[in-house]
C-alpha cells in the first residue's frame, strides 16, 4: 500500500508536468483532384496537434503514467499510445490496388492493399518491444474492429531503412526500433470506418468529416484510411487521421463527362462547420489544359488550387465542377516516374518464379531500395537471383537477406537497385512454396494465400513529394500451396490408418512366422 501511495502521489504531483502545459489544435482539410483517367481522387486529412507533449518513455512503463486530459485529442488512441509507450505509429487499411501508372503518387503514402501497421518504439528491459508490439496490435484490433491481431510474428519484420520515422525520435538512453507487419487479405469496410470516425472531435456530424458517408465511400474504386501518430521536437505529438478515396464519375454508364460535386462524390454536402476546428479547408485542383467551371466561386485561388474555407464561407457548401466537353481517355498515361510489376509465375504447387520489373521513366539514373517481407510460405532461392536490362545482366548491390524460419519468422529481403534512365530492370528469382501443417490452412483453403506487397524506396527525391521519404507499393500476390481435401478428413484418417495397419500386419507376420515343411498327400487321401 505504501508503494501505491507513493506512486499515486507521483502521479498526482505530475499533473502540472508534460501534458498540463500542452494545448491542442485541430485542423481538417479535404483535397480533391481529377485524375487523368477520368476518376476523382479525394483526400481527407484531420490533424490533431498536442503541443508540447512528449511520447511516453518506456523506462516509466513499470510505474503509473501521468493522467491524460484531452479536449480534441482522441482519448481512446491516447490511452493505447501511452499504455505501450509508442513513439511513432502508422496504421493504414486500404481496399483495392493503387494504380501508380495512371493515378500518379498518392497524397498519403501507405496505399498497400489490406492492412499495414508499423511503429517505432523505444527498447527497454522493463517490457520488451515485441511484447508491447503484440499488445499494441491487439489493442488497435479492438479499437478498429480489424483483424490486426493476426499481424503476428509470422508477418512481423523490422526493416529500418524503408520505414524511417516521419517525425523525430526522443533521445532517451534506450535505442529505438521499428516493427512492421502487413496483412493483404484484410477487407476494409464500414465496421472499420465507424471507430475511425469516433476518433474525430466532430465525429461525422459537422465540418468536413460529415462528408465521410460509408455508402458512397465504399462504392469508390479505391479507398483507404490511415492513422498516423508522430512526435516533432518543436511542436509535440501529432495525430493525423486520413481517408483517401478514388471515385469514378464516368462509371454510371450514360455520363460521358468527368463532372463531379461533393454531393455526387459523397452523397452529402457540408452543412455545418465543426466548432473546434482551428482551420477547415477544401482544396480543389484546377485542371490546366481543359475548360471547366467550378461552383461556388472559390474565394481564394492558390497556384492551380481553389481553396474553400468552411469557417468563412456560407453553408451549406456543395462544391461542384463541370467540364465543357466530353471526357476522352488518353492513350498514354504519364503517371508515377517509377512503376513496378511483380508476378508469381509457374503453375506448380511446390515451386515457382518471382519476376519483378521496375520501370524508370526519369531521364536520370535512379537508386531504389527494394524490400520484400515475405511470409515463410514462400521461400527464396537466392542463388537463382538474376537481374537484367533488356536481356543484358545488371548488377545488384547491398543485399540484406534474413531467411525465413518455417512456422515462425518471415523473410526480410532487401536490395539496392540502380536503374539507368528510361529503362526497365527485370529481376527473376526462383521460390519454393511451403507445405503446410493441416491446422495451418485457412478456412478457405482452396483460395490460396495472399502475399504482402513489396516496397520500393527511391533514395533520391523524385517528383515534388513533400512528406519525407517516398514508398511505392507493388500489388499483392496470391499463391497456391498444396492443399489437402478438407471435405472428408475422417475418411482420409481411416483409410491411412487401415493401410498402415495392413502393411504392419504383413511385415510383422513375415518376421514372426515359423516356416515348416508340410507333406501334403494327394487330395484323395484324406
Amino acid at each position: 500500500m505504501a508503494k501505491w501511495r507513493a506512486l499515486f502521489c507521483l502521479a498526482a504531483c505530475l499533473y502540472p508536468s508534460a501534458l498540463a502545459i500542452s494545448t491542442e489544435q485541430f485542423d481538417e482539410e479535404l483535397t480533391i483532384r481529377p485524375l487523368p483517367d477520368g476518376k476523382v481522387a479525394s483526400t481527407f486529412r484531420f490533424t490533431t496537434l498536442l503541443q508540447g507533449a512528449t511520447p511516453r518513455d518506456p523506462q516509466s512503463l513499470g510505474g503509473d503514467d501521468v493522467s491524460q486530459h484531452y479536449t480534441v485529442f482522441p482519448l481512446a488512441l491516447g490511452q493505447i499510445l501511452r499504455e505501450y509507450a509508442v513513439t511513432e505509429l502508422h496504421l493504414s487499411l486500404n481496399a483495392g490496388k493503387w494504380r501508380y501508372d495512371r493515378w500518379g503518387l498518392p497524397k498519403e503514402l501507405g496505399v498497400g492493399t489490406g492492412a499495414e501497421l508499423w511503429a517505432w518504439m523505444g527498447d527497454t528491459e522493463v517490457t520488451s518491444i515485441d511484447k508491447r508490439w503484440k499488445g499494441l496490435r491487439n489493442a488497435l484490433a479492438g479499437l478498429f474492429c480489424a483483424s490486426l491481431g493476426s499481424l503476428d510474428d509470422l508477418r512481423t519484420t523490422s526493416p529500418v531503412q524503408t520505414f524511417q520515422p516521419e517525425g523525430d525520435l526522443p533521445d532517451w538512453d534506450s535505442p529505438h526500433d521499428v516493427r512492421h507487419a502487413s496483412l493483404p487479405s484484410e477487407h476494409v469496410c464500414t465496421e472499420n470506418l465507424t471507430p475511425f470516425l469516433k476518433l474525430l472531435p466532430c465525429k461525422s456530424r459537422s465540418g468536413i468529416a460529415s462528408l465521410l458517408n460509408p455508402h458512397r465511400l465504399f462504392d469508390a474504386d479505391w479507398h483507404g484510411m490511415g492513422v498516423h501518430v508522430l512526435w516533432r521536437e518543436k511542436e509535440g505529438v501529432e495525430v493525423r487521421l486520413t481517408f483517401q478515396s478514388v471515385s469514378d464519375p464516368l462509371r454510371s454508364g450514360s455520363r460521358q463527362k468527368q463532372d463531379w460535386s461533393l454531393h455526387s462524390l459523397f452523397g452529402r454536402s457540408i452543412e455545418r462547420e465543426c466548432p473546434v476546428a482551428h482551420s477547415s479547408r477544401v482544396l480543389v485542383a484546377l485542371p490546366q489544359d481543359q475548360s471547366y467551371s467550378i461552383t461556388p466561386e472559390p474565394p481564394l485561388v492558390e497556384t492551380e488550387w481553389a481553396v474553400f474555407d468552411t469557417t468563412k464561407i456560407n453553408m451549406p457548401l456543395n462544391t461542384a465542377m463541370t467540364w465543357a466537353q466530353n471526357f476522352e481517355f488518353p492513350t498514354e498515361f504519364n503517371g508515377a516516374p517509377l512503376t513496378v510489376k511483380r508476378t508469381l509465375r509457374g503453375t506448380s504447387q511446390a515451386y515457382g518464379q518471382l519476376s519483378i520489373t521496375v520501370q524508370n521513366r526519369l531521364s536520370s539514373e535512379l537508386p531504389v531500395l527494394y524490400l520484400e517481407t515475405m511470409p515463410w510460405l514462400v521461400q527464396f532461392y537466392l542463388s537463382t537471383l538474376k537481374a537484367s536490362i533488356g536481356g543484358k545482366p545488371h548488377a545488384l548491390s547491398n543485399l540484406t537477406y534474413i531467411p525465413a524460419i518455417p512456422h515462425s519468422r518471415p523473410t526480410t529481403f532487401q536490395m539496392l537497385l540502380t536503374i539507368p534512365a528510361k529503362s526497365d530492370l527485370e529481376i527473376v528469382l526462383d521460390v519454393n512454396k511451403a507445405f503446410l501443417l493441416y491446422a495451418e490452412h485457412p478456412p478457405d483453403a482452396q483460395r490460396g494465400w495472399d502475399l504482402p506487397p513489396a516496397i520500393l524506396t527511391p533514395l533520391v527525391p523524385i517528383a515534388n513529394h513533400s512528406t519525407g521519404q517516398l514508398r511505392i507499393y507493388t500489388p499483392t500476390l496470391l499463391v497456391d500451396l498444396a492443399t489437402p481435401d478438407f471435405s472428408m478428413p475422417y475418411n482420409v484418417i481411416i483409410f491411412t490408418c487401415s493401410l498402415i495397419a495392413f502393411l504392419f500386419g504383413n511385415v510383422f507376420n513375415l518376421l514372426t512366422r515359423k516356416f515348416v515343411i508340410i507333406r501334403v498327400g494327394s487330395d484323395k487321401t484324406t
Partner: protein
C-alpha cells in the same frame, strides 16, 4: 477335442479361445489343401472367367449411353448461385456490338493483317479506358510457321487487390473445322462490347481479362505461355506488358454464324483434362434461360423433326420401327455425344480454345453459338456470358467441390467415375488373367511321352521359362516405336506426308521380322523350355492391361479405346503351324498398329501439330506405347509353333 459336459459360459469361451490358439494337428495341411482346391477350381475355369469379364466390360461400355447410369447435374459449390444472378445486358449493348461488328467486317473485307486488327482492337480497348496491350508471337512448326498478334485488356475491378482474375476470350478464327478459316467476328464483337459494358459495374470481385487472340489455338497458346512464364522452344512470344492475378475461370465465346439457334457447350481440354463440372453446370443453368443448350454442335433430331433425316445418328439399315422408338433415339443421341467426347479426350485434343487453359489449373469452357438463321443473337449470348461471369464472380475459392472426372451424355445429366470406370478395368483384368494363365502354363508341360504305365494319369513336369529374349523383343518394339515417333515428327515427314506415309508403313512393318530373324532360333525342345511365343504373349497381355488400368484414371476415353482396340486382339494372338496364316495374321496386326499411316487421312498431321505446338501427348503415345504393343502381338503370331 470338444468336450460335451455343460460348462460355464466364461469357461466355454476360454476353451474356444484356447482351441483357436492351438489349432488342430494338421491345420496347416488342411489349409493348404483348401487353397489348392480353390486355386485349381479357378485355374480350370479361368477361360470362362475371362470370357465373362470381357463380355461384362464391353456390355458396360455399350450401356454407358443409357439414362440408367446417368444422374441429373447439380451445383456443388454453394457460392456460385447461378439461378440468383440478375443480368442487365440489353439492346443498347447489342447495338454497340453491332457497331463493333461493322468495323470488324470492314477489317475483314480489306483483309487487314493481324497487326492492323490488333491495333484496331487495342484502340477500341483504350477508348474504353481499359489498360490494354498487344502481343506478337511466332510459331515454327514442321507443318509451317505461324505468326500473329493478340490484343487483350485487363479490367482491374474496384476495391479488390487484383490477385484473382477471370478471362473472357474470343479467337479470331472459329472452332468450326478446327479453325480452318471461318472467322469468329461476332464472338470478337461480343467480347468487345462486354468489355465496355462490364466496365460500368462496381461489384466485380475479380479482375476481368478480355483477350482477342489471333488465329485459333496458337494465339491463346502464345498468350498463356507468356502469362505463366512458360518457355517453349519453337515459340517466340513477346512478354505481356500488363498482367493480373491468378486466373480462376475462363469463358471462350465462339460465334461464327450470322445468328444462332442453340448454344453448344465444349469442355474437353488438352490431354483429356476436363474443367470442374460446376462451371459447365452453371453455364447450362444460366444459358438455358436465354437460348436452348446442347452438347457440342449436336442438334437433337427430336427437337427439330423437319431436319431429322440429316441429323438422325441412327444408321438407315436399322428398321424403321426401331428408329422411331423414343428410347432408341434417346440412346442414339447420348451415344453420339459420348463418342464425340471420347473422340476428343482419347486423342487428347482441345475441343476449343478453352482447352489450353486447363493445363494451368484454370477451369474453362467454350460457348459455341450453333450457326442458324435465328432466332438468337448478341442479346442472348451476351446475357449468357454475363450471367455465367456473375456466377463465377461469386467464387470465394477455386472450384474444387464438384467433379473433375465425369461423362456428359447430355448437358443436364452426367455419369460419375464410379459408374464408367469399371468397364475399362474389367477388360484390363480379363487381359491380365490371360497373361498370368499363359505364364503359369508355360512353366509346365505334360510329359506323357516317357510314361508307359497307364495307371497314373498324365503327369506334369516343370520347364524353363527364359524371359530374357521375350523381354528383349518387348524392349525392341518400344525402341522401334520411339524411332518411329522421331521420324514422324521430323520436318522431313509432315510436308510430304502423302508420299512418306506408305514408305514408313512398309519399313516399320518389315522391321520386326528382321529383328526376329536375328534372334537365336527358337528352342526345339518344348519339353524343357517354354516357347518364346507364349512368354511374349504373356508379357504383352500383362503390360497392356497394366497400361489400360493406369490410363483409365487419367483419361478414361483413351483407356476405353485401348480396351476396345487391344482387349480382344491381343488375347487371341497366336501362332499357327504353317507360315501362310502366320504372315496373314502378322499383316492384319501390323495394319491395326500402323494402319493410321495409310488410312489416317489428316489425323497424324493434326496429332503431330498438337504435340509440337501445344504438347498433346497423343502422337507420342500411339507411336511409343500403342503400336509396339500391337506389334508384340504380331510377333507372337509370327513365331513358328
Amino acid at each position: 477335442m470338444t468336450d460335451v459336459q455343460p460348462q460355464k459360459p466364461i469357461k466355454r469361451i476360454l476353451a474356444r479361445f484356447n482351441r483357436f490358439l492351438t489349432p488342430a494337428e494338421n491345420a496347416s495341411e488342411l489349409r493348404i489343401r483348401r487353397r489348392n482346391k480353390t486355386l485349381g477350381a479357378l485355374t480350370r475355369r479361368i477361360g470362362t472367367i475371362r470370357l465373362v469379364l470381357f463380355v461384362c466390360g464391353y456390355l458396360w461400355m455399350l450401356a454407358l449411353p443409357s439414362d440408367r447410369l446417368a444422374r441429373r447435374v447439380w451445383i456443388d459449390e454453394n457460392a456460385l448461385q447461378p439461378n440468383r444472378v440478375d443480368v442487365h445486358w440489353n439492346w443498347g449493348e447489342v447495338h454497340t456490338a453491332d457497331r463493333y461488328l461493322d468495323d470488324l467486317e470492314n477489317l475483314r473485307d480489306q483483309n487487314a493483317t493481324s497487326d492492323q486488327r490488333a491495333q484496331y482492337l487495342l484502340s477500341q480497348f483504350q477508348k474504353l479506358g481499359l489498360p490494354s496491350s498487344t502481343q506478337k508471337y511466332h510459331f515454327s512448326a514442321s507443318s509451317g510457321d505461324i505468326q500473329g498478334s493478340n490484343a487483350f485488356a485487363i479490367l482491374s475491378s474496384p476495391r479488390v487487390s487484383g490477385t484473382e482474375a477471370m478471362v473472357i476470350s474470343a479467337s479470331w478464327l472459329s472452332r468450326t473445322g478446327d479453325g480452318e478459316g471461318q472467322l469468329n467476328l461476332r464472338g470478337v464483337a461480343t467480347v468487345l462490347s462486354l468489355a465496355g459494358y462490364l466496365n460500368r459495374y462496381a461489384h466485380w470481385s475479380k479482375d476481368l481479362i478480355f483477350i482477342i487472340n489471333d488465329g485459333y489455338l496458337d494465339g491463346m497458346q502464345a498468350w498463356l505461355s507468356a502469362y505463366y512464364g512458360v518457355s517453349q522452344p519453337n515459340l517466340h512470344a513477346e512478354p505481356l506488358e500488363i498482367v493480373s492475378g491468378v486466373i480462376w475461370a475462363a469463358l471462350c465465346v465462339d460465334y461464327p454464324g450470322h445468328s444462332y439457334s442453340h448454344l453448344g457447350i465444349f469442355h474437353e481440354g488438352l490431354n483429356g483434362r476436363l474443367p470442374n463440372q460446376d462451371l459447365v453446370t452453371s453455364l447450362y443453368y444460366v444459358a438455358s434461360s436465354n437460348s436452348p443448350v446442347i452438347m457440342y454442335d449436336h442438334l437433337d433430331s427430336r427437337d427439330v423433326p423437319d431436319r431429322r433425316d440429316e441429323l438422325d445418328p441412327i444408321p438407315l439399315w436399322v428398321p424403321r420401327v426401331m428408329r422411331d422408338m423414343p428410347d432408341v433415339r434417346a440412346y442414339a443421341y447420348r451415344a453420339m455425344n459420348l463418342l464425340r467426347h471420347i473422340g476428343y479426350q482419347a486423342r487428347g485434343r482441345a475441343s476449343g480454345v478453352h482447352g489450353l487453359f486447363h493445363q494451368y489449373r484454370v477451369d474453362a469452357i467454350t460457348l459455341f453459338a450453333y450457326p442458324a438463321t435465328g432466332p438468337y443473337g448478341f442479346h442472348a449470348i451476351g446475357r449468357s456470358v454475363e450471367g455465367t461471369l456473375r456466377a463465377a464472380n461469386n467464387m470465394l475459392e477455386r472450384l474444387h467441390a464438384s467433379f473433375f472426372f465425369y461423362l456428359l451424355p447430355v448437358h443436364h445429366e452426367f455419369i460419375q467415375i464410379g459408374k464408367y470406370l469399371p468397364s475399362a478395368i474389367l477388360i484390363s483384368v480379363a487381359m491380365i488373367f490371360g497373361g498370368l494363365k499363359i505364364w503359369s502354363d508355360a512353366g509346365w508341360t505334360r510329359s506323357s511321352i516317357i510314361e508307359q504305365k497307364v495307371t497314373s494319369e498324365p503327369t506334369w513336369t516343370r520347364r524353363r521359362r527364359p524371359v530374357i529374349p521375350s523381354l528383349l523383343i518387348v524392349l525392341a518394339t518400344h525402341l522401334m516405336g520411339t524411332l518411329l515417333f522421331f521420324v514422324v515428327k521430323s520436318s522431313w515427314f509432315v510436308p510430304r506426308y502423302m508420299s512418306t506415309a506408305p514408305i514408313l508403313f512398309i519399313t516399320f512393318t518389315s522391321l520386326p521380322p528382321l529383328i526376329t530373324i536375328f534372334l537365336p532360333p527358337p528352342t526345339v525342345d518344348e519339353a524343357t523350355t517354354a516357347p518364346l511365343s507364349s512368354l511374349l504373349k504373356a508379357f504383352n497381355l500383362c503390360i497392356a492391361s497394366t497400361i489400360i488400368s493406369i490410363i483409365s484414371v487419367l483419361n478414361f476415353s483413351m483407356a476405353a479405346s485401348l480396351a476396345v482396340f487391344l482387349g480382344i486382339p491381343l488375347s487371341i494372338s497366336s501362332s499357327s503351324p504353317n507360315p501362310l496364316p502366320r504372315v496373314f495374321k502378322y499383316f492384319s496386326y501390323a495394319l491395326l498398329g500402323l494402319g493410321w499411316l495409310l488410312f489416317g487421312s489428316n489425323e497424324p498431321k493434326s496429332a503431330i501439330r498438337d504435340w509440337e505446338m501445344f504438347g498433346g501427348w497423343f502422337a507420342p503415345f500411339v507411336c511409343i506405347v500403342y503400336a509396339p504393343l500391337v506389334f508384340q502381338a504380331a510377333i507372337v503370331c509370327l513365331q513358328p509353333q
